[in-house]
């Protein structure tokens, strides 16, 4: 895409014998893009290269058409919310944001007003004059986001901004991040939790073990899961009889009995199967003790995508 905000070309990063990014080439469009992957996938490494804190071992990255390394103009138009906490604990939240604004070239008055607006935006005004060392986890996350957007950055990099937050704070932050897109900003937000990203955007980039696994619309990814046979684990005292009945059902692709009183069913139509299972059990007069799906998670998606 010609209007890509971030463009990476054969990007590699290794630390000794550990490959953090492996031949990553991608283009990230404007708007909100979710950067997905399990821990150690390379999300943070990619972000830090794009923000200009880390140099790639080879390859190139461009943000808004420019190399981010040692680029002051890039620093002024991007904002970064890091994954890990790194604060001057003795500073107040307000002083911290104000100082960072001044470091980005704002005058004292502008920094004061900008800090106030940013803290108001993240609902941290009540605690703004307390030392950061007294903040809870959620407040620290909000402070990190406040400092990232305080200088009206057009492009925001948010590295796991929802980690460690409670459901209320999470909902607020999701609304806040969605509002950035309405303001015309582009956001790259990373997470290892699928439903968090689902709440923010349809456009995602998937990393796994340093490699780019997939990009595109989130629903395309979900539908891949649906085409791939789902595994459903069923526990019953009459497992063999139940297995014999299930294998005749058209929604079931495969049945195995890994242990006594336990079935593993594979189905390509999980929604239909869940509807059929109670019916079959009732007809058989057979009690079902437990039903679970070991497949319904991000790990399974990656497993499927990496084994393809």
């Amino acid at each position: 895409m010609s209007d890509a905000v971030i463009r990476a070309d054969r990007l590699n990063k290794w630390y000794g014998s550990v490959i953090a990014l492996n031949d990553v080439s991608l283009e990230i469009p404007p708007g909100i893009t979710g950067l997905l992957g399990p821990n150690g996938a390379g999300k943070t490494t990619f972000m830090r290269i794009a923000i200009g804190l880390l140099r790639p071992s080879s390859g190139a990255v461009e943000v808004a058409g420019e190399d981010p390394w040692n680029n002051l103009a890039h620093n002024l138009r991007t904002g970064y919310c890091p994954e890990h906490d790194g604060f001057y604990e003795w500073m107040t939240g307000r002083a911290f944001v104000r100082w960072l604004l001044r470091l980005r070239g704002r005058s004292r008055a502008e920094a004061r007003d900008g800090a106030h607006r940013a803290l108001e935006r993240v609902r941290l005004l009540d605690a703004a004059d307390r030392a950061v060392g007294t903040y809870s986890r959620g407040m620290r996350q909000r402070l990190k986001i406040a400092q990232a957007l305080a200088h009206d950055a057009k492009l925001l990099f948010l590295d796991e901004p929802l980690t460690g937050t409670d459901p209320l704070v999470r909902a607020e932050l999701i609304d806040l991040i969605r509002s950035f897109e309405r303001e015309g900003r582009s956001v790259l937000v990373s997470s290892h939790v699928l439903h968090e990203i689902e709440a923010l955007t349809r456009s995602i980039v998937l990393f796994h073990r340093g490699r780019l696994v997939a990009t595109g619309d989130i629903h395309e990814i979900r539908s891949l899961i649906d085409r791939h046979p789902h595994s459903v684990s069923v526990r019953s005292s009459r497992a063999r009889e139940l297995a014999a009945a299930l294998v005749r059902d058209e929604t079931v692709a495969e049945v195995s009995i890994p242990a006594e009183r336990s079935l593993l069913v594979r189905t390509r139509r999980p929604d239909e199967f869940y509807g059929r299972l109670p019916q079959i059990a009732l007809e058989l007069g057979c009690e079902v003790e437990e039903v679970s799906s070991p497949d319904d998670n991000l790990e399974a998606v990656f497993r499927y995508l990496t084994e393809r």
Binding site: Y15, T44, T45, R48, I51, G52, L53, L54, R55, N70, L72, N75, L76, Y80, P82, E83, H84, D85, G86, F87, Y88, W90, W99, L100, R102, L103, R104, G105, R106, S107, Q147
Partner: protein, 264 residues
């Protein structure tokens, strides 16, 4: 790069000198010379004939132990601690170029530490002057001279620590280890290598500025080789300061901050 950003950087660097537990540690260190002077003055009053000698305290403490350790406390805090705490990235992602950040670390912190050191030297002088033979005949001007010498040494040390902080992954181990061995132990060993230490050259500078170059009872442990001349000492310190400053700026421009190490 904006002047406002540069000013903010300078202000913040200056503010950090006077905040945190490191200030208390530095105060404890810098209080040692005046305390030793006070002890000697008290003993001189009890016991006639006990010399106090401000110069001796300066030579053995102010320009050696307290100087090196104070520089170490602040030098490590400037970069290594910032990187480890995860706050270095905020500064490097600002509107000031990275080389300026490194330069500001040294050029802002050095005079402030020199001011603290001057206070320590002045306090030592004031206490030593209570004793009849405690202070040199040159008078209080010796405070300014000693302070100047200390500030030169501080600049070299801070530049070295900033360079190590940005250049090496295990920056604390490298910087502290090097200074402990090269600046603490080496000046105490009677080998020619001592001529290449900052401590030795600082003392030589001091010798020429305050003792008119007369070795007298100074450098008694140096046997079998010559100590540097004033010109050599000046050049050594100037070159060392310039070299480490330049290397520090270059290292800052090339320093990557990985996730765990740097946090931000």
């Amino acid at each position: 790069m904006s002047s406002s950003a540069a000013l903010a950087l300078i202000e913040f660097t200056a503010r950090r000198v006077f905040s945190g537990k490191r200030l208390w540690a530095a105060i404890v260190l810098l209080a040692i010379p005046p305390l030793v002077a006070a002890l000697l003055v008290a003993l001189a009053r009890q016991r006639a004939g006990t010399p106090v000698h401000f110069d001796g305290i300066t030579f053995n403490l102010s320009l050696y132990l307290t100087l090196v350790l104070t520089a170490m406390i602040y030098g490590v805090a400037l970069t290594s601690s910032e990187i480890e705490d995860g706050t270095a990235g905020y500064v490097l992602l600002g509107a000031c170029p990275r080389w300026m950040v490194a330069l500001a670390h040294v050029l802002v912190t050095s005079p402030l530490l020199a001011a603290l050191t001057t206070a320590s030297i002045a306090a030592t002088y004031g206490i030593a002057s209570i004793s009849p033979v405690g202070v040199p005949e040159r008078g209080p001007s010796v405070i300014a001279t000693d302070a100047f010498v200390a500030s030169v040494a501080l600049t070299v040390y801070l530049a070295f620590f900033v360079f190590c902080g940005y250049a090496f992954k295990h920056n604390m181990a490298v910087s502290i280890g090097t200074v402990l061995v090269w600046e603490f132990i080496m000046p105490a060993l009677p080998t020619k290598f001592m001529n290449y230490t900052v401590v030795m050259n600082t003392r030589i500078l001091w010798l020429h500025l305050t003792q008119q170059g007369e070795r007298g009872r100074w450098f008694r442990g140096v046997v079998g080789f010559d100590v540097p001349t004033y010109a050599e000492a000046s050049m050594f310190l100037s070159v060392a300061a310039a070299l480490f400053l330049t290397l520090g700026m270059v290292a800052a421009m090339n320093r990557s901050l990985a996730g765990r190490e740097g946090g931000t």
